[in-house]
Structure formats: structure tokens, C-alpha cells
Amino acid sequence: MNKTVQELAIKENVQLNEDTNLLIFEAPDLKEDLLPGQFANVLVKDSTTTFLRRPFSIYDFDKKTGSFSLIIKKVGDGTRKLCQFNAGEKLSVIYPLGKSFSLPNRDEKVLLIGGGSGIAPMMIMAKAIAHLTSEIHILLGARAAKDHIELEKFEKVGKLHLTTEDGSLGEKGFVIHHSLFNDIKSFDRIYTCGPNPMMKAIGDIAIENDVPCEVSLENMMGCGFGVCLCCVTDTHDKGHQCVCTDGPVFNAKEVKW
């Protein structure tokens, strides 16, 4: 669907853990699929400290009820404020923005890796490819067990694997330390979103093992729709590319980290 700026009512604001909320928006005009990797740029209403919009990956959507949801981690004034709005209040949202992950071929074995807030696009991705393959593995990484969220929902859309840095849930270490990486060549495709060092490490391993890998970047953005040219990432073949419009999804081989 074409991008649009709208005042959307919050349908639900669910606290997932102490620093993360799920914001579900009513989007009555939502007639087409939102694509995995696309994002919404949300204005922090009535904020005296947050001037620019804040971009968030689409987590999930439902055309029948006309709604979509974002996962918001409180990392600064803007995100903290967003988590305080109540159901019924309206926020200005520009969506859908950005390009999507490419889809796997039929019956391919796919690995989705999310770290921190980067788990968000893995839900919409898993659902988007469910009709193509049943071999969907989802690997989520977090600092500790309490930082893992939405696990019940993820279990329903793929085979779930977990890591924690402190070993309190799943395997201990970063996602790249997970035993799935012992046989990484068994996967046909890897899709990942999370902190840059994590995506770089995964991208390097994927390239080494000849597994196609796409990464979803999160650079600081001014506008979100390709005019301020602030969020660029450097690439091997095309020079500076806008994360908001040329991405946020890039082939791991393209990105100069």
C-alpha cells in the first residue's frame, strides 16, 4: 500500500516487561498486507524533548480487524513517553515505510534471528512465509530470561530457539554462539534484525558459509521516507544508501559495516 500519514487510535497498550510495551494501533484503512521488514514512524505527541518521529518495525498486523502492532522498548524520553499513552488516544503515524525482506523459495529451511528489539520483524516475517515453508527456525537472543518477550506467540509460528547472555534461559551466550550455528550450512536462508555487531557477525558467518542472508538495519532517521538523507549506510556497490527507502533490509553482502 502507499505510504500515508494518519492519526491512529491506540487499540491496546500492553506492557510486556519492565522496559518494553506492545502498542496496537487501529488502522481501519488497512486493506493490503504490510510487508515483513517495513516500519512505521511515530510522532511522540506533546513531547518537549523528542522532536523527530521514532521508527519501529511492524511486529504484526491483522487486515480483518484493521490493526497493526509495534514493539516499543524504552530507551529514551521519546520511547518512554510513547509507552505511556492509553488505549483510545491518537498518535500520528506514517506507514508503511521501507522495503521488505525477500521471500524464501518453497520448502527452504529458513533461520530468523532477532536480537533485542530486533525480534519485532521476525513475527511478521514468520507469518508471511508460513505458506511457503514449514522449516522456519526462529532464534531470539536477549540479555536474560526476563528480557525475552512474546515467546508463546513465537512458538506458534516456528521452531523456537533461545539464547541469553547470562544463561538464564536457552543456551548461554550471544545468538551466534547457539548450537544452530554448528550446522549453519543446513539453512537455505538467514534473515536477521538486531544490534549492528550481532548482524555483522551473523552476516560474516553467512557469507563464509555461502548462506544467503538479509539484515534489517536501524540507523537514526530524520524523515523515514528518503528525503533528509540522514540514515544512510555505506554499501559496496551503490555507495550511500538510505536505510529508510533503499532498506531497511539489505543483503548482508552489500553492507560496509
Binding site: 505510504k3 500519514v5 523527530l52 524523515c223 521516507f225 538523507l229 555505506d234
Partner: protein
């Protein structure tokens, strides 16, 4: 019906609302959001003779009521613009200005000569004020002889409307304005961004890859208004005011201070529909105050 039409040199704008270079792409990026035909005009992204990759990331820092940018004139060059971009926007019923920047007077001249051949283009906005390119525009715009030399050289080769965009990073902006008017500018636009800086205290590092960048947004509005007022009192050519305009009231403040038209910049990032809202808001203001002609607002500050 109120009259919103204004003239910049011999170019008639259907209303005084333009967009600022570097905040509106090439216009078509906004076609999902607004009807481009509603705008008085738009100034496309800063264009240089040769393609430029721009500065390294991070190029942006959010600041109180504004932002710093250090994009560094990333663009594909004037030839690419003329061949591939202009055909996509030439039929919009709005006036298109190209923001032209350069590192040498020679660059400006060749760029202007090329643009002089482009039919239908309303004019050039000569950027002698970009703070983000080392040897670039601002070097010309901060001294009277520098500004005069580049404007004079471009004037000789460019026949359509020549608007010159001034830097606020000077001691006396009126003096520079008089110099560029004397050198043949048809119009003066101001302000470009204010040179600024942001620091990450935890990392003890600058946020921008270039250390310094250009400040824009509501934070600069009082400075911009003051400079527009000073320049309006110093020159006769029409002035296009900008700097932190977020809504119709802000725009009217600039018109009152002496601007014939305004440009909306950073506001486009926050609300991609803001330009049309400002056009409507100016109309609403005029109706509310029983003003039938926009010219009764321009320079209408009561002292």
C-alpha cells in the same frame, strides 16, 4: 477569495509557500502525501556539478526543538538531475527551483550554464551557505567579496530568476545581502542552517561524523526572523524567509518581518503534509483578519 499570489522577480507563485532544499527531495517523494500542485513552489535538493557521496554516517543529531545535519550535499550531479529527475517533475503545476552549490566559482558557472538550458525551470537558488562541505558553498557566503564574486559570475551566464541563499554564520547578514543584491541577485533566501555541534557525554565523542553540522528546526526561528527583518530593511529584492517554520502562524511571522515568500524545511520531516496545511492556514488567517491580499501582510510588522 483571498489573493495569495506573490512574485519573485518575474516568477509568479500561486501562494508564498515553498519548500527548503534538502528537506523535500525532488518533490515526488511527497506525492503519496500531498498534491504537489498546491505548493507555491519547491526547491530541490542541493545539486553540484559532479556527483557527491556526502559525508559518513552519523549525519544527524536530534537537538532540543531541532536537529543538526551534516549530509554534505549528497546528490547525483547536475547532468543526472537534468536528464533523469527534472523530466519527472517538470509538469507539476508549481514552480521548481534548483539549489545549486559548488566548490569553485567555475563549478557554479558551469552548473548554472547547464541549468540555463532547462526549459520551464523557475530559477536557481544559489547555495553559498552550506556549512557541511569543507571547501564548499559557505566559504563564498561569509564574506562580501566572496559572495559578490560568485553571484556576479553566475548572473552573467544565467538568465532566469537567481535567488541567493545566505548563511546565518556571519557577523552582519545585511552587509552580505547588499553585496549579493549589488551583484545581480533577483531574490535573497535565508537562513541556511546555523553551524552547531552535539556531543555524546557517555562516549566523550561528537555525535556527527563531521563533528559540526547545520542546526535547523524551531530552535533557530528567532534568529531567522531577526535576520529576515534585518535583510528586508537592507535590500529591495524580494526575500524568501525560512528557519524553523512549523505552521501557518510561523509563516505569517516571517511575512510580517518582510519576507515575500517562505520555505518550509525540517517541518516536512515531522509532517509530510505540513506545506498544504500552511497554505490553508495562511488563508484562514487572512479571512479571520479581513485581509484580501497577501501583500497587506508582507512587511506589515507594526512597530
Amino acid at each position: 477569495m483571498v489573493n495569495l499570489k506573490v512574485k519573485i522577480n518575474d516568477i509568479e507563485l500561486k501562494n508564498p509557500v515553498l519548500t527548503a532544499s534538502g528537506t523535500f527531495g525532488y518533490g515526488y517523494e511527497f506525492s503519496d502525501f500531498i498534491d504537489l500542485n498546491r505548493l507555491g513552489g519547491f526547491v530541490v535538493k542541493g545539486t553540484t556539478l559532479h556527483p557527491r557521496q556526502g559525508n559518513a554516517y552519523p549525519r544527524m543529531a536530534e537537538t532540543p526543538s531541532g536537529m543538526l545535519n551534516a549530509v554534505g550535499l549528497q546528490n547525483k550531479g547536475v547532468d543526472y538531475f537534468i536528464e533523469h529527475i527534472y523530466p519527472k517533475i517538470k509538469d507539476v503545476d508549481s514552480k521548481v527551483f534548483v539549489n545549486l552549490s559548488g566548490s569553485t566559482v567555475e563549478d557554479y558557472i558551469i552548473g548554472a550554464e547547464k541549468l540555463n538550458e532547462v526549459k520551464g525551470l523557475a530559477g536557481i537558488e544559489l547555495n553559498i551557505s552550506c556549512p557541511n562541505v569543507k571547501e564548499g558553498g559557505m566559504a563564498f557566503g561569509v564574506t562580501c567579496p566572496g559572495a559578490e564574486a560568485v553571484v556576479k559570475a553566475v548572473r552573467e551566464v544565467y538568465d532566469s530568476t537567481l535567488m541567493v541563499k545566505l548563511s546565518p554564520n556571519v557577523t552582519d547578514v545585511a552587509e552580505i545581502a547588499r553585496a549579493v543584491e549589488g551583484a545581480g541577485a533577483d531574490s535573497i533566501s535565508l537562513i541556511n542552517t546555523l553551524l552547531g555541534m552535539a556531543v555524546d557525554a557517555e562516549k566523550r565523542k561528537p555525535i556527527l561524523s563531521t563533528v559540526t553540522g547545520g542546526l535547523s528546526g524551531p530552535a533557530v526561528k528567532p534568529v531567522a526572523l531577526r535576520m529576515v527583518w534585518q535583510v528586508a530593511n537592507a535590500v529591495k529584492v524580494p526575500i524568501v524567509g525560512m528557519g524553523g517554520i512549523m505552521n501557518a502562524t510561523d509563516a505569517i511571522e516571517f511575512l510580517l518581518a518582510g519576507a515575500t515568500a517562505v520555505q518550509l524545511g525540517t517541518a516536512n520531516f515531522i509532517d509530510p503534509e505540513v506545506t498544504v496545511k500552511v497554505v490553508e492556514g495562511i488563508e484562514e488567517y487572512m479571512n479571520r483578519h479581513n485581509i484580501s491580499d497577501i501583500h497587506d501582510i508582507i512587511g506589515g510588522l507594526q512597530l
